[in-house]
Subunit: 315 residues, 2 copies
């Protein structure tokens, strides 16, 4: 059985033909040009699907289903996308629109959810039945797998783990609340805290690395400086890891999955981040002598979206 | 099919014969006397099962399974109870010990989990497939139902929602961390905050109600005073509701169940609490125009433990 996976992003659309066990047979991409009407974007998605099918020498008849990862909320039952802030979409009848071009079964789900699902089939959490995938990017996304299937809650608003509140009355969040996990565990949080820190510590290597312009600070610069021993960067990194660990332990205490998978831009810090997070989590674990979820780095990288979306089509 | 449900508590053991759909046919109880060796307690549990079966005019042969709700962590696979702080139990081979007296299949799970399961079968969340039950008592317990079945995570350490961290670096918790949900949403939190408040506001009705002795403050007194318009009590109650709402919204954003059920001692405040919680949750909801989980009061009261434990036996 073959499946089509589509990773719909704010900048680009990627699609690929994927095998039953998550191997990509062909893939391609096209720019989103998100200012356009959704009808134009969806027409391009359908055309891209046909193109990558052709690259794999299969017809669309041979594609069991098309799965689509969307950077927003999906109503899997109706196929309507109520919210996709990134694309400015609101109540877009995605599946109906796709069916104007292609007759295949179409399944939609949140992009972080499908990336987490991909890792659980073909990535680091392969073979597990329950996992939580955390994307550490501009925001913090979540992908929950329970019983071997993606879990997005009853109203499609679950697995928004970036909006667990870990510090009531804390940093204001884009969602309107204060103290969301995202405000402490995203790349954006590292940048915010580094900017604050270099005001007090202009001697920090962070500022030198940015040519003295704190507007150029990014998460990689801060983590690189921390690795190299810069005290200010190390403090920002340690605070970041502490908050990330608190969110992870909350997930332990609620969901207790087999594995927590760290993905997204910040996870590129690799073992340096992973070792620090594991060390920070350990003393926070509730039942110290019982086994608890392992924490791992995502493995599929940029392909996770295509693979996970495609595998939504597996029944 | 008939099932036996056992509710094992620190003070008393309750057991009952329960029908397929959660109706109690007979019930009884015996004191726990928790200082005794676990062997003695489990012998009494087995004897109580036989007694209540007799009251329902059935033999133990007619009981499909014995479910037991335990105030601790359970390893459902091995039947061992690794932790039960309340009883001072550690690695107790519960099922093996029960089988010395009765041949029936025995299933163990956490007491809050089984109470939540009971509500989802025979109580306020009847007919739902996913719910989160929150016991607002001395601590805060959690019972998660997903796909119509109790969910305690992979290592049996999930659904400990009292230990989600809602205020990093906040009030110290018995678990060793700081800022756990339990520290803000338990009856204990109401009492702690009321004691602090009456030091500043000795004119509060709370203190009068306790004969001037703040050691006699309990959650009911504080909530009663709040209802009657005492400003100090109202502030304590409002802060409590705010924290409870923040924890509930975190559960929305992670699990997005059909319903959140409030049980435990504080929930006896009834509609006064429910209305306040619903009002506090509303502005915190992430997707304001989408449906979100409903919040309800538990209905089964003290019988939830027996019913839910019994229904663990249903396959």
């Amino acid at each position: 059985m073959l499946y089509m996976g589509v990773d719909l992003g704010g900048t680009g659309i990627k699609a690929g033909v994927v095998s039953e066990n998550g191997e990509i047979l062909s893939k391609g991409s096209t720019p989103t040009m998100k200012e356009r009407p959704y009808q134009d974007i969806i027409r391009d998605i359908a055309a891209l699907c046909e193109k990558v099918a052709g690259q794999a020498n299969v017809t669309m008849d041979e594609i069991a289903a098309i799965g689509v990862g969307v950077p927003g909320i999906c109503d899997a039952k109706t196929g309507i996308i109520p919210f996709c802030t990134n694309l400015g979409w609101h109540d877009v009848p995605f599946i109906a629109e796709m069916h104007k071009y292609l007759p295949n079964r179409v399944i939609v789900d949140n992009d972080a959810t499908v990336a987490g699902y991909a890792e659980s089939i073909a990535g680091v959490s392969r073979g597990t039945q329950s996992s939580v995938f955390i994307t550490l990017g501009t925001g913090v996304g979540g992908g929950i797998v329970i019983g071997g299937r993606p879990y997005s809650g009853v109203h499609g608003i679950g697995s928004e783990i970036g909006h667990m509140i870990i510090k009531m009355d804390g940093e204001p969040c884009t969602c309107g609340n204060k103290g969301c996990f995202e405000r402490y565990a995203s790349a954006t949080a590292i940048i915010r805290e580094a900017k604050r820190a270099v005001e007090k510590h202009p001697e920090s290597a962070i500022l030198a690395r940015c040519g003295g312009n704190s507007e150029k600070i990014n998460a990689k610069i801060v983590i690189d400086c921390a690795k190299e021993g810069d005290a200010t960067a190390k403090q920002v990194f340690d605070d970041y890891v502490k908050a990330l660990a608190h969110g992870i332990v909350s997930l332990f205490n609620v969901l207790d999955p087999e594995v927590i998978v760290l993905g997204g831009g910040v996870s590129m810090a690799g073992e340096y981040l992973l070792d620090a997070v594991r060390a920070a989590v350990k003393p926070l674990v509730f039942f110290k002598t019982l086994p608890y979820p392992s924490i791992q780095l995502a493995r599929l990288g940029a392909d996770a979206g295509i693979i996970g979306a495609a595998l939504l089509g597996r029944e």
